[in-house]
């Protein structure tokens, strides 16, 4: 099902950096928290 909100290229770049710094698997909730904390 297509969603209303879409991630921008900046969001994807940010998430890639976030994943690159992680040493173990990251959950979806952690990605969500990271996106939200970036906005603040």
């Amino acid at each position: 099902m297509p969603t209303q909100v879409q991630l921008s290229d900046d969001d994807v770049t940010f998430l890639l950096t976030f994943l690159r710094n992680a040493t173990s698997p990251v959950t979806t909730q952690q990605l969500i928290d990271a996106l939200r904390s970036r906005v603040r």
Binding site: V5, Q6, S24, V26, T27, T28, R36, V39
Partner: protein, 576 residues
């Protein structure tokens, strides 16, 4: 020991007597400098040499020493040092040379005064390839083909505004006037830009977690740089890789154990990594992600919390009395009863009455209630999930397999044969409760005092229904209990032929006849309660499904009995 005799072949000048005196002087001086190098100056005072000659060769020889030295100036030299006359020679028999140490270049001075860093020569200007103006714009490219023929549906095209001239002119230093050849201006068509609709910025503050998780999954799952399994994410190149040997060992271990194994077990037993090590989570993710790429060798049959892996040729979980495909076909009606937008794991427990069909095959239907209790498939093409059903009353945990429904077949849960036969009878009421682990469930039955009754069974060897005295200690739903008093005509009946049982209407008709309640109109009648319990002997029927057959039969064979409270009639010869 190596001894080397030094030979001296020096020709002294003078008379033989003077030569002898010179030789003696030279010999004593060589003795003085016996450990010196051949060209190092040997110095002896004239007085001491004269005293030596006076002792060894007599006063006459001593008086002639100065004359001898004058005759042999190539061998001896006389110096005046501190008011003393010194004879000087070398072991090589030559006057020592005046040596000058060249201190214009010393190693220490070289370090103390390093040369300045050499200046790098300027890089030559690299020529840039220039695109031929005829290739610069789409119009000129398409010109030979007559662009109108193609009728391209291009996105919105905008003219690029030309950059404005700078308002403030900077006073540039006057450059010397140089005559420059006039360049021939190249006419370039104005460039056109194609505006691509930019992805809207994710306003993450205004959306909830579920929608944001969906957006993340939608975007990142298509990105090959990112590894995903279930709810977990990593960069693909940071996920450890397995060799073919590792994969073979994983497969062999699952086959040795003859049952699906979780990722925890595989990481510990096959890869030898303990749960306390920091790499455990990483390796567990690697097992799940890498095995999910090996479609031919491994099947994921787990849930989000309990990730089971299976191989293609493991023995089937559950009954072998009937093929899973046939069971799925029997439950086909469930596909119409399931919710289109299921709320998986939205209920805490489900109560269920075991029918004869379910008891005989040791299974449970994946109906709407079970759909609300059990998890959805974790992976898109996942066909089944292995769950653990724990029965606290018998201290046993069963490995069961949930077969998810397909468009043509209903879903069901296999593997409860032993639990049913050891503890329950057809008609028993069980309760299935969820736990925090979405792959683990608690199954309980109502404990009751010991009861005895003659209950229906299917003899495997003779393939006939029989009533046998049975003792049981579980709570039952009386309407589903198949006692001899209630269904006496089922004794010694054979199971229906496959052609008959394939059609639900035929099974219902046969059940009317087996129940044996003749009506006044050359037909049969039966209460809905009896019918529901009895039709479920041959094949599964839900209450809704049975009622839809009775109410909507096109042949008109079935009809609601106007006299009974909830009864139906059947007139034979009208169904095919």
């Amino acid at each position: 020991m190596l001894s080397l005799e030094e030979k001296t072949d020096i020709a002294f000048a003078g008379s033989p007597e003077e030569q002898r005196i010179a030789r003696e002087v030279f010999a004593v001086m060589r003795a003085q400098g016996r450990f010196m190098s051949s060209d190092a100056p040997i110095r002896v005072s004239l007085d001491s040499a004269r005293a030596f000659l006076a002792q060894t060769a007599g006063e006459d020889a001593a008086a002639r020493i100065e004359r001898v030295l004058e005759l042999n100036t190539e061998i001896f030299a006389l110096l005046e040092l501190d008011e003393h006359t010194i004879i000087e020679t070398t072991r090589g028999g030559r006057v020592p040379r005046q040596t000058m140490t060249d201190r214009s270049h010393t190693f220490a001075r070289r370090f103390m005064t390093p040369l300045p860093k050499p200046e790098a020569p300027e890089r030559p200007v690299r020529e840039r390839p220039r695109v031929d103006p005829s290739w610069a714009t789409l119009d000129q490219l398409l010109a030979p083909f007559d662009a109108e023929e193609f009728d391209l549906d291009l996105p919105t095209v905008q003219e690029v505004p030309e950059p404005e001239e700078p308002v403030a002119e900077v006073a540039a230093p006057e450059a010397p006037l140089v005559e420059v050849e006039e360049e021939v201006p190249v006419e370039i068509a104005p460039a056109r830009t194609i505006t691509v609709p930019a992805a809207p910025q994710a306003d993450v503050a205004r959306v909830d977690d579920i929608e944001l998780a969906s957006a993340i999954a939608e975007r990142l799952r298509t990105d090959s740089r990112i590894a995903n399994f279930g709810d977990q994410w990593m960069l693909e190149d940071q996920v450890p890789r397995f060799s073919r040997g590792d994969l073979r060992r994983l497969k062999d271990y699952i086959q040795e154990q003859e049952q699906p194994l979780t990722d925890d077990v595989l990481v510990q037993d096959v890869l030898g990594i303990r749960p306390t090590t920091p790499d455990f989570d990483l390796m567990r993710f690697a097992v799940n992600f890498r095995l999910s790429r090996e479609h031919r060798e491994f099947d994921f049959v787990g849930t989000a919390n309990q990730r089971f892996w299976s191989t293609s040729n493991l023995p089937q979980i559950g009954t072998t009395r009937r093929k899973p495909n046939e069971i799925g076909t029997d439950y086909r009606y469930l596909t119409d009863e399931l919710s289109d937008q299921p709320a998986q794991r939205s209920v805490k427990s489900v109560d269920h009455v075991i029918s004869f069909y379910e008891y005989y095959l040791g299974l449970l239907p994946y109906d709407a209630d079970m759909q609300a209790l059990l998890p959805a498939p974790l992976l898109p093409n996942q066909r089944s999930a292995v769950l653990t059903f724990e029965t606290p009353q018998s201290y046993t945990t069963y490995l069961v397999e949930l077969r998810y429904p397909t468009p043509n077949r209903g879903g069901f849960i296999l593997g409860l044969d032993d639990f049913f036969t050891e503890n329950l009878v057809p008609g028993a009421l069980i309760s299935i409760k969820r736990t925090d682990n979405d792959g683990h469930y608690l199954v309980e039955y109502l404990s009751a005092g010991n009861q005895s009754a003659r209950l229906l069974e299917l003899e495997d060897r003779r393939q006939r229904y029989v009533f046998r005295p049975t003792s049981y200690a579980c709570g039952v739903e009386d309407s589903f209990l198949l006692t001899e008093e209630r269904f006496p005509h089922f004794g010694s009946e054979k199971p229906l032929d496959e052609k008959i049982r394939r059609r639900p209407e035929s099974v219902v008709a046969a059940t009317f006849e087996r129940l044996g309640h003749r009506s006044d109109t050359q037909g049969f009648w039966a209460t809905f309660e009896d019918l529901l319990a009895a039709v479920n002997i041959e094949r599964p029927f839900s209450e809704r499904y049975l009622r839809s057959i009775l109410e909507n039969d096109e042949t008109g064979a079935f009809a609601r009995d106007p006299d009974g409270s909830d009864a139906y009639t059947y007139v034979p010869g009208t169904t095919s």
